[in-house]
C-alpha cells in the first residue's frame, strides 16, 4: 500500500475515559477519493475514533497523519484546517439563518468597511451547489427546508471550507428513499472529485452500494480492513457482533390469529391532521401488525394519534369493542395503550436521570404507600424490570445517558411494559441498536404477542418488519394503500415495491 495515497492515517490510537479503555491500538486510514465504511456495534469505538479525528477528543497515544505529514489535531478548528469535515447527525445549522449564511458561518465574506457581504455569500453558496450538482436556493431560510436540504447544506458547508475528507454518520437516517438515492449519487460525484468519505452506517445495503473498503471495530479494537469485494455481508455481521448470527432476522411462522376473535383495537375512519387520512383497521390479540411506508407517509403520526398526542379530527377508536376517547397520553395509558416513541433520547428518556427513575416514571402510581413513594418497592420493581429485559447497567442509580444505545432502548421498552399494556406500539424500536440487541428486541416483540398482546411495529427496515409482522399495512400520504398478510409477501423486494406504490 502506498502511504502517499492516504489522505488520513491514524496509527495505534489509544483512548480511555475514567480508566475504561475505549480504543486500543486502533489503526485507520483513508485513501484519496474512496468511500471507507466504518462499522462496529454500539460501543465499539467508532464515534470516539471519529471524535478524535475531528479534534473533539484527544488520543491518549498514537498519531494522526494528514496527507502523509504528522498533524496535531487538538481542536475542531485544527481538524477543519486539515480538511476534515463532518456531516453531523444532529445538524449543526442555525435554523433562522439562510442556507448561504449557514454555509459561510464563521467565514463570512467581508465587503467594504468590514461588513458582511451577503451577496458574495450567496455567490459562494451557489458555486458550491453547482459543484455538487444539486439544486438548493441559497437565500432560503434553513428552517423552511426539509431535512434532505439541511443535509445538503451541511455538506456544502464542509466543502466550502475545503474539506478533503467528509465524515458521514448515518446520513440516511432521516431521509426518504428517493432522497437517499440522490445522496448516493452525490457521494459518487464527490468521490470522482477526489473527496474521501468516511461512511458510518448500520445499513448493509448502503455500505455495499457505496463503499470501496470497510473497517470493522469491535470492543475498541481494529478487527479488519478489507475491500468490500472481498467480504460477504455475513462476514461483516459476524465481525460486528463477534458471533455468527443466523436466522435472527428471518420470519418465524407463528400461530395464525383467528379472525373469529374479537379485535382488541379497532380504528374506524380515523383522521388526524394532514398525515392520517381515513385510516381503518382492526388488530386482534396476539397479532403483530407492521406499518410500512416512506418517511412522511404518516406512520409516526398514526401512532401519535392512537397515543393521544395528536388530536383526532374525526373517526372512532374502539378498544375491546368499546369506543374510547384518546385525547391525552394519560387516557391512552389508562385504556391500555403504550407507545415506544421513535426518538428515545428526545422522547423516551430523561437522559440525566437514573435508570431507575426512568423505568419507574410511568409506574409511580404502583409504588406509592400512603401518598409517598416507597423506596424499597421502587428498588424491587426496577430491579425486576432490569433483570427481565436484561438491561446491562452497573447500578440502577447511574444516569441512563451513560448506557449504550441498545441498552437505552431496552430501558424505554421496559419502562412501558412495566405498565402491562394490552396494546403496544413500537416506533422504530431498533433504530441505532447493534445487531445483537436488535434480535433480542425482536424476540421480545414475538413473546409479547404470544402472551396475547396486540403489537404494532413501525419500521423503515424491511427485513425487520418482515421478521416479526403477521400482517403489514402499507401507508402512503396518510392513507392505507395495502393490507397484506405476511404469507402474501414473498420477499423484501415485494414489500419495497408495495411501499413505492407500484
Amino acid at each position: 500500500m502506498n502511504t502517499a495515497d492516504n489522505v488520513v492515517q491514524m496509527r495505534s490510537i489509544f483512548k480511555s475515559f475514567n480508566g475504561v479503555s475505549v480504543l486500543k491500538d486502533v489503526g485507520f486510514d483513508v485513501r484519496k477519493g474512496e468511500v471507507h465504511a466504518l462499522a462496529g456495534g454500539n460501543g465499539a469505538g467508532k464515534s470516539t475514533l471519529m471524535k478524535i479525528l475531528q479534534g473533539v477528543y484527544q488520543a491518549d497515544a498514537g498519531e494522526i497523519l494528514i496527507g502523509g505529514k504528522q498533524a496535531s489535531i487538538t481542536s475542531i478548528h485544527d481538524a477543519k484546517a486539515a480538511g476534515i469535515g463532518m456531516v453531523f447527525q444532529e445538524f449543526s445549522l442555525v435554523p433562522s439563518l439562510t442556507v448561504a449564511q449557514n454555509i459561510c458561518l464563521a467565514a463570512e465574506p467581508l465587503g467594504r468597511g468590514g461588513l458582511i457581504d451577503d451577496r458574495a455569500a450567496v455567490r459562494r453558496a451557489t458555486e458550491v451547489f453547482a459543484e455538487m450538482e444539486v439544486d438548493v436556493d441559497p437565500s432560503a431560510e434553513v428552517s423552511r427546508l426539509g431535512t434532505a436540504y439541511w443535509q445538503l447544506t451541511e455538506i456544502a458547508k464542509a466543502l466550502s471550507q475545503n474539506a478533503q475528507v467528509l465524515i458521514m454518520d448515518e446520513p440516511t437516517a432521516s431521509l426518504a428513499r428517493h432522497e437517499c438515492e440522490a445522496l448516493f449519487e452525490l457521494i459518487d460525484r464527490l468521490k470522482r472529485r477526489g473527496i474521501s468519505i468516511i461512511y458510518i452506517s448500520h445499513r448493509m445495503d448502503e455500505v455495499y452500494r457505496l463503499a470501496d473498503r470497510i473497517t470493522i471495530l469491535r470492543d475498541g479494537q481494529h478487527l479488519l480492513t478489507k475491500a468490500l469485494s472481498d467480504v460477504t455481508p455475513e462476514q461483516i455481521v459476524e465481525g460486528i457482533v463477534g458471533k455468527k448470527v443466523e436466522g435472527d432476522l428471518s420470519y418465524r411462522a407463528r400461530n395464525e390469529v383467528s379472525h373469529e376473535v374479537e379485535p382488541l383495537l379497532e380504528v374506524r375512519g380515523l383522521n388526524a391532521g394532514p398525515r392520517v387520512r381515513n385510516v381503518s383497521f382492526a388488530l386482534r390479540p396476539g397479532e403483530i401488525l407492521g406499518l410500512a411506508g416512506l418517511m412522511g407517509s404518516g406512520r409516526t403520526e398514526l401512532a401519535r394519534a392512537l397515543f393521544g398526542i395528536d388530536k383526532l379530527d374525526s373517526g372512532q377508536v374502539l378498544i375491546r369493542g368499546k369506543a374510547v376517547s384518546l385525547s391525552s397520553p394519560q387516557q391512552a395509558i389508562n385504556a391500555g395503550v403504550a407507545l415506544i416513541p421513535e426518538d428515545r433520547r428526545a422522547q423516551g428518556l430523561v437522559l440525566e436521570h437514573s435508570v431507575q427513575d426512568n423505568l419507574l416514571l410511568p409506574l409511580l402510581g404502583q409504588i406509592r404507600r400512603g401518598g409517598l413513594l416507597d423506596g424499597s418497592k421502587a428498588k424491587a420493581l426496577s430491579t425486576s424490570l432490569i433483570k427481565r429485559f436484561a438491561v446491562k447497567v452497573a447500578h440502577p442509580h447511574r444516569p441512563v445517558r451513560l448506557l449504550s444505545g441498545g441498552n437505552q432502548q431496552k430501558v424505554v421498552i421496559a419502562k412501558w411494559l412495566g405498565t402491562d399494556p394490552d396494546i403496544l406500539i413500537l416506533d422504530e424500536p431498533t433504530a441505532g441498536v447493534d445487531i445483537g440487541t436488535k434480535s433480542e428486541i425482536l424476540d421480545m416483540i414475538r413473546e409479547l404477542a404470544s402472551a396475547g398482546k396486540a403489537v404494532i411495529v413501525i419500521s423503515s427496515e424491511y427485513p425487520e418488519l418482515l421478521a416479526v409482522s403477521d400482517r403489514v399495512l402499507v401507508l402512503k400520504d396518510g392513507s392505507i394503500i395495502r393490507d397484506i398478510p405476511r404469507s402474501g409477501i414473498a420477499d423484501e423486494e415485494y414489500l419495497q415495491l408495495a411501499v413505492q406504490g407500484v
Partner: protein, 328 residues
C-alpha cells in the same frame, strides 16, 4: 436514526472497582455543604471576638434567612421544572400589604386569607400564562414583578400599613416557640414538607421529569402543562406566606418588603445544587444555600464591612460557589 452515544463506550465494563466508583462520585453536588462548613469555620476563627459564635448571633442568622429560605423552597420546584419565577419578591411585598390592610379592617383570619389570596391569584396567573399560552416564565414573571409591586404601592399610597394584631405578629415571625424563634420553625416546616414532596411523591418525581425532558415526560403520560402551572402556583403561594412572615416580623405591611428577594432565592437554589436547566432539585441544598448567603451577610456585617463592600464580597462568593458546583 442512530444517535451513537459517545459515552456509551464507557459503559462496556459492567463490573467496576470501588476506586472508579469513588472517582465518579459527583462531589460537585456536595460543594454547598463543603462551602458552608469552610465559610462557617473561616468566620468562626476570624470573628471569634465579635461574637460570631454566640447562640444569639447564630439564631439571628437563621431568623434573617427564614423568609429567603421559605421563598427558595418554592423556587426550587420552579427551577427544577426548568422555569423561573422572578415575581416572588414583589408577591411577598403585595401579600404583606394586603394582609395588613385586611387585618385592620376585618381581623385575623381574613387577614391571613387575604395574604394567601395574593399568592393564589398571582401564582395562577403566572401558571396559566406559562402553561396555557406558552409564554416563557422569565417574561411572564418579570412583568408580574412590576405589576405586583406597583399594585402594592398603589393601594397603600406608598405608606406602611401597621399591624397591631398581636396574635398575628406572634404567629408570623415575632414570637418564639419555647427557645426557638417562630421564623426558624416556619422555615423548618417548609423545608421538611418541600423535601418530602420533591423526593418522595409522585408529584415531585413528575416535576423533575418535566424539567429534565419535557418531551419524554409528555410521552410518558405526564400532563406537563399542569405540572408547570402547579409549580408556579406553589411558588406564588409560598412567596405570599413569606410576605406574611415579613409582615409579622416587622409588624407592618409595606410594598418594599421582599424587594430583591427573587435574586437571593435564585442564588440560594442554584448554590444548593439545583440545576438551572431543570431536572434536578435539592431542598436541603436550597436550605444550606440560603443559610450560606445569610452566613456571609452576617459575617461581613460583624467584620465591619460597609454595605457596598458587602455586596461585592457576596457576589464574588456566589459566583465562586456556583463555578465550583457546575457540571463539567
Amino acid at each position: 436514526m442512530s444517535k451513537t452515544n459517545t459515552i456509551a463506550s464507557r459503559d462496556t465494563g459492567v463490573s467496576r472497582t470501588l476506586g472508579t466508583i469513588l472517582k465518579e462520585l459527583d462531589w460537585r453536588r456536595y460543594v454547598i455543604y463543603i462551602g458552608f462548613v469552610v465559610v462557617f469555620l473561616f468566620f468562626a476563627v476570624l470573628l471569634r471576638d465579635q461574637g460570631f459564635l454566640s447562640p444569639n448571633n447564630l439564631l439571628n442568622i437563621f431568623r434573617q434567612t427564614a423568609t429567603i429560605t421559605v421563598i427558595a423552597v418554592g423556587m426550587t420546584y420552579v427551577i427544577a421544572c426548568a422555569e423561573i419565577d422572578l415575581s416572588v419578591g414583589s408577591v411577598a411585598g403585595l401579600s404583606s400589604v394586603c394582609t395588613a390592610m385586611a387585618l385592620s379592617q376585618w381581623g385575623l383570619v381574613p387577614g391571613i386569607l387575604a395574604g394567601l389570596a395574593v399568592g393564589l391569584v398571582v401564582g395562577s396567573i403566572n401558571g396559566a400564562l406559562v402553561s396555557l399560552l406558552g409564554i416563557p416564565s422569565f417574561l411572564v414573571t418579570l412583568g408580574m414583578l412590576g405589576i405586583a409591586v406597583g399594585v402594592a404601592q398603589w393601594i397603600t399610597a406608598s405608606a406602611p400599613q401597621p399591624i397591631l394584631n398581636d396574635t398575628f405578629n406572634t404567629l408570623f415571625g415575632s414570637g418564639n416557640f419555647g427557645p426557638i424563634p417562630g421564623l426558624v420553625v416556619w422555615s423548618a416546616i417548609f423545608v421538611a414538607i418541600g423535601a418530602v414532596v420533591l423526593n418522595r411523591t409522585r408529584f415531585g418525581r413528575q416535576v423533575l421529569a418535566t424539567g429534565g425532558n419535557r418531551n419524554a415526560a409528555d410521552f410518558t403520560g405526564i400532563n406537563t402543562k399542569r405540572i408547570k402551572f402547579q409549580v408556579l402556583l406553589i411558588s406564588g403561594m409560598v412567596a405570599s406566606v413569606a410576605g406574611m412572615l415579613y409582615a409579622g416580623r416587622l409588624q407592618s405591611g409595606r410594598f418594599q418588603w421582599g424587594a430583591g428577594d427573587e435574586l437571593s432565592a435564585i442564588a440560594a437554589v442554584i448554590l444548593g445544587g439545583t440545576s438551572l436547566f431543570g431536572g434536578f432539585g435539592s431542598i436541603v441544598g436550597t436550605l444550606f444555600g440560603a443559610l450560606l448567603i445569610g452566613l456571609i451577610n452576617n459575617g461581613l456585617i460583624l467584620a465591619g464591612l460597609d454595605s457596598s463592600q458587602q455586596q461585592v464580597v457576596r457576589g464574588v462568593i456566589i459566583i465562586l460557589a456556583v463555578a465550583l458546583a457546575r457540571k463539567k
